[in-house]
Structure formats: structure tokens, C-alpha cells
């Protein structure tokens, strides 16, 4: 697939159809992949990658690196198409300046899972079908891919692309993989247990803002937490309250807009399962206001800027219904 993508990218550059290509590039290690802009065939030949480590959602990167006066090719995994659709709905990217190619995704590998196995001194990693081969200073290791796949990919919601100009590979389908199981587990706990759980998680937050930077829904010109005029700006959480506040408000601000791409948890250096906050909102919205998937179509109306006259009353929370 990677070679086909490179070929197509170069074709489009050569034809002048696009002048820039957004994709992934490898850094020092095989598993250290970052989004990048490619402007020439040489750059593509040298650095372009598409493999099971290309986790980053290119939609957010596209948003940050968009240019209006020229056309950019962007490769989008199914996940990323949802985010891209949502960004177009919110007028955050200029659709006319983009050429979108949908590409398949077979689940990405979580390097932390390999490391957690005690594997150190990694020299290279190759993923082929169901096998992942790791070459290290101390010898080779082989893993079954499903064992080292990222959690978000194990609970993948869709292999379907919601938007593209051109599709490479086969179109997939929306899937049901129990992505709310964790949320349900938490819901089943007592309030004290839940409080303990979240305190344990959120107290580790170092307010590095990685979640915010990676989140394709967090595209505000200026975040309320950075704006001294809002009265709630904070750089680092000085009290457990501020840890809660930041994450509650961040989740609330993306509620109804979050596509559940899982970037927040992927990038969190403290491994806080932030996606469980967003999924809670998604789950509540689905249950209370009907199934809703952000980023499914351009022009959708988010449930938070919508209503029906017979919506559930807020009481439902206190009374434990739902």
C-alpha cells in the first residue's frame, strides 16, 4: 500500500493537481512516526511511510498546516475521515484546497505494549499480516499483532471512509466492537469507586496539553484555558480541582463533536484514558438523544446544538435512569 500511495502522490504532484502532500514520515526509530508535509518527489521517496505505526490523525495536522492558495493532498485512514468531515462541517478547513485519498487501516501497533513486555533496545520493527517482528540489541522477538495493537484499534468503530476524492484499497464497514465496555464498567461502579478511579488517573495529569494539541476537535483559535480574559485560564493545575476542571470542560467542549478517534489517549504521556471521558458523552448522547456519530456526514447538527421537545430531563441523572 505504501508504494502505491507514494506513486499516486508523485503522480498528483507531477501533474500539478496538488502542490503539497500530507502524510507520515519516519524519524529515528521505526515506531517514531510523525505527520509531515511533502513538497517534492524526492522528499516522498526518502521519508514517506505508511505502515502499522502511522497512528497520528492527519486531519488535525492538515488543519494546522493548511494553505488556502494551493491544493494539498491528504491521505486519510477511516478514523481520520470522520475528523476531517467534522472539521469541514465546522468550516475549520477549506475543502476546496484539499485532495483527499482514503486509505485502508488494519489497526495500529502500540509500542508501549511491546515495551511493557520487557522488550528493550529496539533496532527495528516490521509488521507483516498477523506477525510483528522486533529486532533488538538482544535478539529478535515475534508478536501476534492482535496482542500489541493499540486499545483504540481493538475497539475500532469503523473501517469506512466518510469522505474522500479517491479511495485506495477496498472500502470497509462500520463495526460493533464493544467500545463502550469500559464506560459501562465504570458506570457499574459505586460513586466512591468512580471517584477513586478518576482521581487516580487525573491526578497524574501534568498539563502538557498533548491531548489538546492532538485532538482534531480542539481547534480553537485560542483555548479558554489559555485566555486570561475567561477567568479560568491555567497553565498548570495547582489543585486537584483544576485537573478535574480542565478535563471536564475539554470533554464538554468537544462533546457532540468528538469522533472518538482516540488521539487524546494515544498521545498522553501519562497514559490517562482520556477517551473514556469522551466516550461517556458519546454513550449518553446515543442513549438519550438517539445514535449519533460525529463526522459521519458534512453539515450534521451536533446533538448539543439540537433538541427535541420531549428530551429527557436532567433529573434522569439523579434518579439513576438512562
Amino acid at each position: 500500500m505504501q508504494e502505491a500511495m507514494k506513486k499516486r502522490a508523485k503522480e498528483l504532484l507531477a501533474s500539478g493537481e496538488v502542490t503539497r502532500v500530507i502524510g507520515w514520515k519516519k524519524n529515528e526509530f521505526d515506531y517514531d512516526i510523525t505527520p509531515a508535509v511533502f513538497e517534492s518527489a524526492e522528499e516522498i521517496d526518502r521519508d514517506f511511510r505508511y505502515d502499522d505505526f502511522c497512528g497520528p490523525n492527519l486531519s488535525k495536522f492538515t488543519f494546522k498546516n493548511q494553505k488556502n492558495d494551493t491544493k494539498t493532498l491528504v491521505f486519510l485512514k477511516p478514523c481520520d475521515t470522520y475528523s476531517m468531515t467534522q472539521l469541514i462541517t465546522e468550516h475549520r478547513v477549506n475543502r476546496d484546497a484539499l485532495y483527499l485519498i482514503g486509505i485502508p487501516c488494519f489497526g495500529k501497533i502500540d509500542i508501549e505494549k511491546i515495551r511493557a513486555d520487557g522488550t528493550d533496545g529496539i533496532l527495528s520493527i516490521a509488521s507483516e499480516g498477523a506477525d510483528v517482528t522486533v529486532k533488538t540489541l538482544y535478539g529478535d522477538k515475534t508478536y501476534v499483532k492482535a496482542d500489541v495493537m493499540a486499545e483504540r484499534c481493538l475497539a475500532c468503530k469503523s473501517k469506512y471512509h466518510t469522505i474522500y476524492d479517491e479511495l485506495m484499497g477496498e472500502e470497509g464497514e462500520v463495526m460493533e466492537t464493544g467500545r463502550f465496555n469500559e464506560v459501562e464498567k465504570l458506570e457499574a461502579m459505586t460513586p466512591d469507586e468512580r471517584f477513586g478511579f478518576w482521581r487516580g488517573e487525573l491526578s497524574r495529569c501534568i498539563r502538557c496539553n498533548a491531548c489538546r494539541n492532538a485532538c482534531p476537535a480542539c481547534t480553537c483559535e485560542s483555548c479558554v484555558f489559555d485566555n486570561p480574559d475567561t477567568g479560568i485560564s491555567q497553565k498548570a493545575a495547582a489543585d486537584s480541582f483544576e485537573e478535574n476542571m480542565f478535563h471536564i470542560i475539554r470533554a464538554f467542549h468537544v462533546a457532540g463533536r468528538c469522533t472518538d478517534c482516540g488521539e487524546c489517549s494515544r498521545v498522553c504521556p501519562q497514559h490517562i484514558p482520556l477517551h473514556l471521558l469522551n466516550r461517556k458523552f458519546i454513550r449518553d448522547i446515543d442513549k438519550l438523544y438517539g445514535e449519533y456519530q460525529a463526522g459521519e456526514e458534512v453539515g450534521q447538527r451536533s446533538p448539543l446544538v439540537n433538541f427535541t421537545t420531549d428530551d429527557a430531563e436532567p433529573d434522569i441523572v439523579r434518579k439513576g435512569g438512562k
Binding site: R194, L277, D284
Partner: protein, 145 residues
């Protein structure tokens, strides 16, 4: 602090058209409710940002209640419908984080419902008093020594 001495701090956001007028009517009819309740007037319940609610808890509130026109009767036609969704989701999130769900409430009080206003406030104060001090959403820096 023994429960009997505990006086909760309650912030009540009231929409100008229905609930604030309902609170006025409670006063006109001399219907008593605890002084722990302090009302903040907002044009519509939909003006209340979740940030305000968290801010109140941060600054030491033990309970926050939002009052608006009955659904369908909003002065601005649809404001309280948005309030209803926002607050349902926010309250559910607070509950998910293990924060006592009884500390937050939304009630619809019309301009004619002075008695309801007083009864709602009595009940809410009672509930919050029984819960005791807000510990789970407090900001220790804002507490008086």
C-alpha cells in the same frame, strides 16, 4: 463539622423571565426558604455555562441549582431546551467522575410558581445539607482556614 451546624452554600441561577420572577413571587407571598440560597439572575437558563457551575464549586459552593422556564415556555422560545441537554450531559459526567449527583439540579419554575420555588429550594438545601460539605470538587486554595 457536625451536620446540625453545617450551613451549605447554594448558588441558584435563575432565568429572568420565569424563575427569577417565581423567586420574587415566593418573596411577595412570604414563603420561607433557607438563607443559604443566593440567587444569580441570568437572562435565560441557557446562559449558564458549565464553567460557572464548576467555578461555584471551586469557590466553595456545596450545591448549584439552575432554574428556568418550563420547556416550551422559554421566553426565548428554545433556550431551555439547550439547557436541558447541556445540563443532563454535564450532570451525568459529574456523576461518572464520582461527584455526588445530588449537588446539582435543574428545576423548571414559572413566574406563577412561587410556592414551587420555595419548596424546591427547601428540598435542595435539605438534600445538600444531608450530603455535607463539597469535598470532591473543592479547591483547597479557596477554602477559608
Amino acid at each position: 463539622m457536625p451536620i446540625s451546624e453545617f450551613k451549605p452554600k447554594i448558588v441558584a441561577f435563575c432565568c429572568n423571565w420565569c424563575s427569577y420572577a417565581g423567586a420574587d413571587l415566593a418573596g411577595t407571598n412570604r414563603l420561607n426558604y433557607p438563607a443559604d440560597v443566593k440567587i444569580i439572575r441570568v437572562p435565560c437558563s441557557c446562559r449558564v455555562n458549565p464553567i460557572f457551575i464548576l467555578r461555584a464549586f471551586q469557590r466553595g459552593a456545596d450545591g448549584v441549582i439552575l432554574c428556568g422556564c418550563h420547556p416550551g415556555d422559554c421566553h426565548y422560545t428554545t433556550g431551555n431546551y439547550y439547557t436541558r441537554r447541556r445540563m443532563t450531559l454535564l450532570f451525568s459526567m459529574l456523576d461518572y467522575l464520582g461527584i455526588e449527583k445530588e449537588r446539582t439540579r435543574v428545576e423548571w419554575v414559572s413566574a406563577a410558581e412561587g410556592a414551587k420555588f420555595a419548596a424546591v429550594m427547601q428540598d435542595f438545601v435539605k438534600t445538600v445539607t444531608e450530603l455535607g460539605e463539597n469535598k470532591r470538587l473543592e479547591d483547597r486554595r479557596c477554602k477559608k482556614p
